[in-house]
């Protein structure tokens, strides 16, 4: 075999090996891409994991939002415009949401005042606004599919946007960072005290809480429990 043939043969083989190895290298990311869902359609746990979130006890808290003690959150989109939603604690407390009664565009909302209601199992529970201002937009997707607020409470499940000229003052009444962590820990402790033994695995033994913790605690008066946590 002359030198030329050897080079030709090896070139041939090299190309085939390059193709085979490229396939293997590309197939894995392609497989992962094709078989995964866009974050919006993933379960809440994975969806929020893509955002900067911390897991405090059983609940996720997003790092880029400020929380109202009534379990609503506010995120500054740009100066004067704030996005509002309900937190992971709230959605886990009430469970699968059947309907959201959101304020119309132009409505006035006040910090700590009832601004919207979640309907679960035929009962409506009000929740309070984290900021003062006028409603600038309502999330049409969450109105159509309220369980977005369950699946991705800090992302696609946002509720409405508010023109909030007094945000600088409002923010003093909101919690973020370590304060927010402590607050969620305290809220979880309060929840533990209310839990009955029949809740089983979701108790303080490291299991995840069920969807609709309030209903699991008291199927009859769960809305009262929710109102206590939501300060409404």
């Amino acid at each position: 075999m002359i030198f030329h043939d050897v080079v030709t043969l090896y070139t041939f083989k090299a190309i085939e090996y390059v193709i085979a190895l490229s396939f293997l290298a590309l197939f894995i990311p392609f497989w992962r891409y094709a078989l995964s869902d866009r974050p919006a359609t993933q379960p809440a746990m994975q969806a929020v994991a893509r955002r900067a979130v911390d897991l405090v006890e059983w609940f996720n808290i997003a790092r880029d939002v400020a929380f109202h003690p009534g379990h609503a959150w506010a995120r500054v989109d740009r100066p004067g415009l704030v996005t509002v939603g309900m937190d992971d604690f709230a959605q886990k407390l009430v469970g699968p949401i059947a309907r959201l009664d959101l304020p119309p565009v132009g409505a006035e909302v006040g910090q700590g005042e009832a601004a919207w209601a979640v309907q679960v199992d035929g009962k409506a529970v009000s929740m309070v606004s984290p900021v003062d201002g006028l409603v600038a937009a309502v999330n049409p997707r969450v109105v159509e599919t309220p369980d977005l607020a369950n699946r991705d409470p800090y992302g696609e499940g946002w509720l409405f946007k508010v023109h909030a000229p007094r945000f600088a003052a409002n923010v003093k009444g909101l919690l973020s960072g370590r304060l927010a962590t402590r607050w969620v820990e305290d809220a979880t402790d309060q929840l533990r005290l209310r839990m009955a033994p029949q809740l089983g695995l979701v108790l303080q033994d490291g299991g995840m809480p069920v969807d609709g913790i309030a209903q699991a605690i008291d199927p009859e008066r769960w809305d009262t429990i929710a109102r206590e946590f939501f300060l409404s």
Binding site: A20, A34, R38
Partner: protein
């Protein structure tokens, strides 16, 4: 008296089962739609053409020659029909062997599509055979066991029978033949295993037929891997066909649907499968290209056409399927599926007709009668599908039979 009584009894049965509960006059009236008019025109031209072909022979009706003995009846009706019917064994094995029960609602239409695909592929083949009445000789009398064609013939024959048996429970439900249906339902798993075996054999062997023509087929399409290409691309074609067929069925047969089925979710699931299969198929084709070493030919006109097929009909649909499934854009997935079906048709025609005899002085172009015959056979297949779906429990299950399968 007895005859008279049975005639009276038979009338409601025919009315209910065949005439969709209408009287004969209303039924005929209900057929007078613009769509049916087009079908009627096609059949009015097509059936006499088919009769002409059998009366006067291949020479009179086709442009086939000794140099180009296979035309669109093989390239389109047979190769495409069989490839696009691969959804039958793909979906049946996914549900009955791999246990992906959520795809159960699309198995029945997939099996029906497959069955009709094979039946009309065989009809296309009968048109193509010079002396079809001699077919029993190689099939049953004089075995050519060394011939790929012999294997293909037997596999298609057996698999069409298997498909008929797989489809039969639906017909038995329609006829209310409970015991026969019960017996066949018990055979489902066995039939599915046989279906996978036979499909693997003949889908690849249809490609292997072209290994016999290394000097006739353009080097970019000729490859030792053709059998593997045919098999893998048939899976992508079958899955795409199921997506297209289910989307069209859901539009056309609203009243026949099981509205509990989340078709969008099934469609994105199928799109993921198609994306993965096409991705692997693309790299296998690339490997075949490297193996052939005909890189220089890519710079020619044939090369451009080859690259168009590779990128436009394999790589791009693969990426679109993945993107559509990931973002749950069902419309994108459906259009991609239709494009992929077209791509498989182009591929089979490339291998069997377009790039065949590429360097010959005269190139085969089908006669108008060949084209009309193909259109007629496809139309008949679609009509048969409509007829069955409108009567038998294909798109939904009858409440009486909603037991375990």
């Amino acid at each position: 008296m007895r005859n008279g009584a049975s005639a009276v009894l038979a009338r409601p049965w025919v009315t209910e089962k065949v005439l969709l509960g209408l009287g004969p006059r209303e039924y005929v009236k209900s057929l007078l739609t613009p769509g049916n008019l087009v079908v009627g025109l096609i059949l009015a031209v097509g059936i006499p053409v088919i009769i002409y072909r059998f009366a006067f022979g291949l020479g009179a009706a086709t442009n086939l020659t000794q140099q180009a003995p296979w035309g669109i009846w093989i390239g389109f009706d047979m190769l495409c029909g069989v490839a696009l019917a691969a959804g039958g064994f793909t979906l049946a094995s996914a549900v009955y062997i791999l246990g992906l029960e959520e795809y159960h609602p699309v198995v029945r239409p997939a099996v029906l599509t497959a069955f009709l695909g094979y039946v009309f592929a065989v009809l296309g083949l009968l048109c193509d055979l010079g002396r079809p009445w001699n077919l029993p000789i190689p099939m049953f009398h004089s075995f050519g066991t060394t011939s790929v064609m012999f294997e293909v013939g037997w596999c298609v024959f057996l698999y069409t029978t298997v498909l008929a048996l797989e489809f039969a429970p639906q017909a038995f439900e329609w006829l209310n033949w409970k015991r026969a249906r019960h017996f066949l339902v018990k055979l489902t798993l066995g039939l599915t295993v046989v279906a996978v075996m036979l499909s693997t054999l003949h889908q690849s062997s249809l490609g292997a037929l072209f290994l016999l023509a290394p000097n006739k087929l353009h080097p970019l399409w000729y490859s030792a891997f053709i059998p593997i290409y045919f098999f893998i691309s048939a899976i992508a074609a079958g899955v795409s066909m199921v997506i297209v067929e289910s989307a069209l069925s859901h539009r056309a047969f609203q009243s026949r649907l099981d509205h509990h089925v989340n078709l969008d979710q099934l469609t994105t699931g199928l799109a993921r499968a198609a994306a993965i299969v096409l991705f692997a198929y693309f790299f296998l084709k690339l490997q075949g290209l490297a193996d052939g070493g005909h890189w220089a030919l890519l710079a020619t006109g044939w090369g451009a056409w080859y690259l168009f097929e590779m990128i436009g009909f394999i790589l791009v649909p693969s990426l679109l399927f993945a993107h559509g499934a990931r973002t749950r854009r069902v419309t994108l997935v459906r259009w991609t599926a239709a494009w992929t079906v077209l791509g498989i048709v182009v591929n089979r025609l490339n291998v069997s007709v377009i790039a065949m005899n590429w360097n010959a002085a005269q190139h085969y172009v089908p006669s108008w009668m060949e084209v009309v015959t193909s259109i007629t056979l496809v139309t008949m297949g679609v009509q048969m599908f409509r007829w069955v779906v409108n009567r038998m429990p294909v798109l939904r299950e009858l409440p009486d039979y909603r037991d375990a399968h």
